[in-house]
């Protein structure tokens, strides 16, 4: 026929992208915070081998990864500090290169790679601390709300959000001025936080509300609460699949939400007390850190189905981003 389909090149491009996405890339390393043994277990997720154990501070929880310079940051609330792991050519040559004093009870941590900033939430003092990701020097702080937990950096909008657990709200901070804007009210006891940059939304995991709040960032307010499992804790967004995963600590499961319909499309079994989660670079798998079982479970990203468990570390938590590509 004379008329050439306009969609054919788009279909071809999509197929190429799909093929690339499904190409078996190198499986990443996981840097797992072990709250019960004061260390970080580095696992090769190809087969679960523990390739390194790095002594950090006391009762580590939060973790964030920086590509350049190659570093992993870990919060150790009970020693009131952040450890900076300098990554070597392989994890066997990783070492803790610095300890940063970080207020009273540093828990949540997030990195803004573009601005070379590390953000740390002080859960006891109700403050957001900022460090320079290159020099590791303190770069300011601001008082926010009570019980800061999860942190999400909105680099495009020049803002950072923090779940203020004991205020049932999200604090909003301008990254350039460190000025605090009005809080956004969400559900009960928000801890986990995830930014949906494409849809201009923020999601909170409300531990006491057994729900996920959906915040419309343009409107600056909550637009929905989605019922999930018992004691939801951390959140993980899969932008390519428009899926939000929620770890339900008391149900030993993850809820999977379709972010286009805001419906729970699946609830899938994990190990005991699932907490932190991260997404493999190829988008095909997510990894869930199971605090009760001391394991990391690998799940298929589309179905959520548990594929296998790996041995983790004592009271492992993995709150934040913990995957490092090889």
């Amino acid at each position: 026929m004379a008329r050439r389909s306009r969609s054919r090149p788009l279909v071809a491009a999509a197929l190429v992208l799909l093929a690339l996405a499904r190409a078996p890339g190198a499986v990443p390393y996981a840097y797992i915070t072990d709250q019960g043994s004061d260390d970080v277990a580095v696992l090769d997720l190809a087969d679960g081998t523990r390739v390194a154990t790095l002594k950090v501070g006391h009762a580590p929880v939060g973790v964030a990864v920086l590509a350049q310079p190659a570093r992993v940051f870990v919060t150790s609330p009970e020693s009131h500090d952040v450890q900076v792991i300098a990554r070597g050519a392989t994890p066997r040559t990783d070492r803790v290169e610095a300890r940063l004093a970080a207020g009273e009870l540093p828990v949540g941590i997030a990195v803004d790679a573009g601005a070379a900033r590390v953000y740390v939430g002080d859960m006891s003092a109700g403050r957001l601390l900022v460090f320079d990701a290159n020099s590791l020097q303190p770069a300011g702080s601001v008082t926010i709300g009570r019980g800061p937990g999860g942190i999400a950096v909105d680099a495009g909008a020049g803002r950072v959000y923090v779940a203020d657990r004991d205020d049932d709200a999200v604090a909003v901070v301008d990254t350039r001025t460190l000025a605090r804007g009005p809080d956004i009210a969400v559900g009960q006891h928000p801890f986990g936080l995830a930014l949906d940059a494409a849809l201009r939304r923020l999601y909170t995991a409300n531990v006491y509300g057994n729900s996920v709040s959906v915040v419309d960032l343009a409107a600056g307010r909550r637009i929905a609460d989605i019922a999930v499992g018992a004691a939801p804790y951390c959140l993980l967004l899969h932008p390519g699949l428009h899926r939000l995963y929620v770890s339900n600590q008391h149900d030993d499961s993850i809820s999977i939400i379709d972010t286009q319909t805001l419906q729970v499309v699946a609830t899938v079994a994990t190990g005991g007390y699932p907490e932190g989660m991260d997404l493999a670079p190829d988008g095909n798998s997510l990894y869930v850190v199971n605090w009760m079982d001391d394991t990391v479970s690998e799940h298929d990203a589309r179905s959520g189905k548990l594929v296998r468990h790996f041995a983790g570390g004592r009271n492992n938590r993995g709150m934040g981003n913990f995957l490092v590509p090889k």
Partner: protein
């Protein structure tokens, strides 16, 4: 006569004040502030008795636990073994616990509950799960709990620190499971 009545009244008043003070001090457990480090205890035991006999003991959340746990003197609940039922345990030494049943599955012989109030354990935000599993004609029971120490902030006093919480809960689970075995194995 009048004097002894006066003493009795004063004693009663003291008891009432103490009781009220204790009630106020024992804040509702579930929504308490807590520190960053949750603790866990996992204990298990193998019992030479059929699983349904063990479940008959463990699975009676509402009233059955005094039959096998040495520290529990009495147990009553407001809704039997239905999810949401609140039971009150009278614990040796004049202490108590109020617990809510959150999961009850006779098919898998699993139950989960949380402490809502009570002074019997130096913990906060305590949740627990007991599972009974048939192992041939024997039974494997696992009791696991997650909780924070009694004192939520930094620098806790020794009787409310992590170690005290772990020791207390471990003691409850170990003595309970050992006596459950003894009771279940009785011919």
């Amino acid at each position: 006569m009048k004097k002894s009545n006066g003493n009795a009244i004063a004693a009663a008043r003291r008891t009432l004040v103490l009781g009220l003070a204790m009630m106020v001090a024992c804040a509702v457990q579930e929504a308490q502030a807590h520190g960053p480090s949750r603790q866990k205890v996992i204990e298990s035991i193998d019992i030479d008795a059929p699983a349904d006999k063990v479940w008959a003991l463990v699975g009676d959340f509402a009233e059955g636990w005094p039959k096998w746990h040495p520290a529990i003197e009495a147990s009553s609940a407001d809704n039997g073994n239905a999810v949401g039922s609140m039971r009150r345990l009278t614990i040796k030494g004049g202490k108590f616990l109020v617990e809510r049943l959150d999961l009850y599955d006779p098919a898998t012989m699993t139950l989960k509950y949380v402490i809502r109030s009570g002074d019997a354990l130096p913990v906060t935000n305590y949740s627990s799960m007991v599972t009974v599993r048939a192992d041939g004609d024997k039974t494997h029971v696992e009791w696991r709990g997650a909780f924070y120490r009694g004192y939520p902030n930094n620098d806790p006093p020794p009787e409310q620190n992590d170690e005290a919480a772990l020791a207390a809960v471990t003691g409850v689970y170990k003595t309970g499971l050992e006596n459950l075995k003894a009771v279940a194995e009785k011919k």
